[in-house]
Amino acid sequence: MTATTILVTGGGGVGKTTLSAGLALAAARSGNRTLVLTVDPAKRLATALGLEGLGSEPTPLVEGLSGAMLDAAHSWNEIAKRYAPPDVGSRLTSNPFFEAATQHFPASQSFAAAEEMTIHIDSGIWDVIVVDTPPSGGGIEFFTSPARMRSLIGGRLLKWLTGGSLPGRRLFYQFTARPALRIADAALGSELLEAVADFLIDLRAAYDGIARRSREIERHLAASRRVVVTTADPAPISEATKFFELENGTPDLVLFNRVLPDDWYGAVTDAPAPFAENLSRWGMESRRQAEARHGFSSRWHVDPATIPWQPHAPNDPESLLEMIDSADGLDLGVLLG
């Protein structure tokens, strides 16, 4: 059977990792064999879930829930071994530029994370997989990474540079590429250039494997449920907006995090001065939040769920679940069913 995949996306600092953990716990509580894939949990959250020292292999955390870390450097090694022709794969990973280059590819981290996710989906042992997506590129990269990876490795540029049909090394210095190589040679020195050229030629040879795989990843991404997490602050909202402008599917759920009660605005109190003044400041903030939320909802025709601002950051499975249960308008059935 296929796992239900829930992708938790959104800008930096909005609470994606905490909410991913909470959603995963809630899914496990309803009897699903659940896996949470996370990027960089805060130490306290890691301790709360027993995530410390977690590797890329799923490890049981609490009843029904396992966790694993998404590790891009490790994944690229695996990708090279799995999808490049055998001799090319080992040459690629032993190239001195391998790590630096794969870290520098546009959308490289996201592609590696999406690949890891796909492996876990295909394993068939999970009912639900919750993915805390990497924050790079505002999280949007996760969805565009397969296509970007194809256009990078299969692009005209690399083809032209390395000769059309994956030749041996000598063709690298083909005639049309010479002016470019002369520039590079003068600028970088020729030793470096040769090492880089070797690398690019090998990378081209891995194209077919990576392209095929990237299409499978795209299918999984398209079939997944998408949650966008945001706060009512301007920067996260503008990040959240981008997920509605994607071509291959729109969010299934918008979660506003750190929400203040509506009734704080305009509330009158006979409390002593510092408290009355404090209430009026938070009341103003509460109204600003409500306006931002309504603006977003009417623009994208969504009915966001809201999570109250937690005075104390959740630091164990119980408080994570309490946070999810305190949400208003959050129907887990929609995500899991």
Binding site: F97, A100, H104
Partner: protein, 282 residues
């Protein structure tokens, strides 16, 4: 810190990096300096915080005394090749420059050298009294600051090497250049800040300005237990809990300027204007 010629601002995503860059640039411009605000990454929030739809590679005036630009990849590469490496424009036409880009991006440090090199180049030209750069997030700042050194070690010869010396010197010039780290009093931003500060100071890559702590709450005085149940009490409880949590993280950071939590502001330009206003000389 506005006495320097170049300030590079970094911080974890979401802590208010672009807002601070816009505010510092505004403040300096209001104080009569000629200022350039630079976005070092194309996904920077600097444009919105300056109230602009988008920025261009060519600096454009935002208001009196303040110009802004974004380092766009192809344009930055072309300028680097032409001005710093001395390769005439004609050789860059067509795929040649893009090919160089592909080759250069594969080798560690060269991509970063082009970005940081542009920032340093603007600072060296002397057109501006102050440059405020919206840098890469903390996770990538070290590789940018180290890039000229990395490249100098990697590239044994060639013109790229010749250009690294002045970059390293200008980065280390304490009188001219400073790194501003902005953070928020929460676990992840503070941890990440302390980690990157360690690396940067142990390698003495650049002089570090006092850490800016964003969105700090003032203490809320008064006895809570006399309050009746209701919004005032709820708001006070939330405020106190957040305040205590913040203090816990602030105590781990070296002392530095605080930017208070700004209540009830709607748009990014409002935020940066308010911060600039808070720093008005008295």
């Amino acid at each position: 810190m506005l006495h320097k010629r170049l300030l590079i601002v970094t911080g974890k995503g979401g802590v208010g990096k672009s807002a601070l860059v816009a505010a510092l640039a505004l403040r300096a411009a209001l104080d009569g300096k000629r200022v350039l605000a630079m976005a070092m990454t194309e996904d920077s929030g600097l444009a919105v915080h300056l109230g602009m739809e988008r920025l261009t590679y060519r600096p454009r005036p935002i208001r009196s005394g303040l110009d802004a630009m974004v380092i766009e990849r192809p344009a930055a590469l072309n300028e680097y090749l032409e001005v710093q490496i001395g390769i005439p424009k004609i050789a860059q036409l067509g795929p040649a420059a893009r090919a160089f880009d592909a080759l250069a991006s594969t080798a560690p440090g060269i991509r970063e050298v082009i970005t940081i090199g542009k920032v340093l180049y603007e600072a060296r030209k002397g057109t501006w009294d102050l440059i405020v750069a919206d840098g890469p997030p903390t996770g990538q700042i070290v590789s940018h600051l180290k890039a000229p050194t990395t490249v100098a070690h990697l590239v044994g010869a060639g013109r790229v090497l010749d250009q690294t010396g002045w970059m390293i010197r200008l980065l280390r010039d304490q009188a001219a250049t400073g790194l501003v780290v902005v953070t928020m009093p929460e676990e992840l931003p503070v941890t990440e800040t302390l980690e990157s500060l360690d690396t940067i100071s142990s390698d003495s890559l650049i002089s570090i300005e006092p850490i800016v702590i964003n969105r700090t709450l003032d203490p809320l005085e008064g006895a809570l237990n006399r309050l009746r149940k209701g919004p005032a009490k709820q708001a006070a409880l939330l405020h106190r809990a957040l305040y205590e949590e913040q203090q816990r993280w602030i105590s781990q950071l070296p002392p530095g300027p605080h930017i208070p939590y700004l209540f009830g502001l709607h748009t990014p330009p409002e935020v940066s204007a308010r911060i600039a206003d808070l720093w008005r000389p008295s």
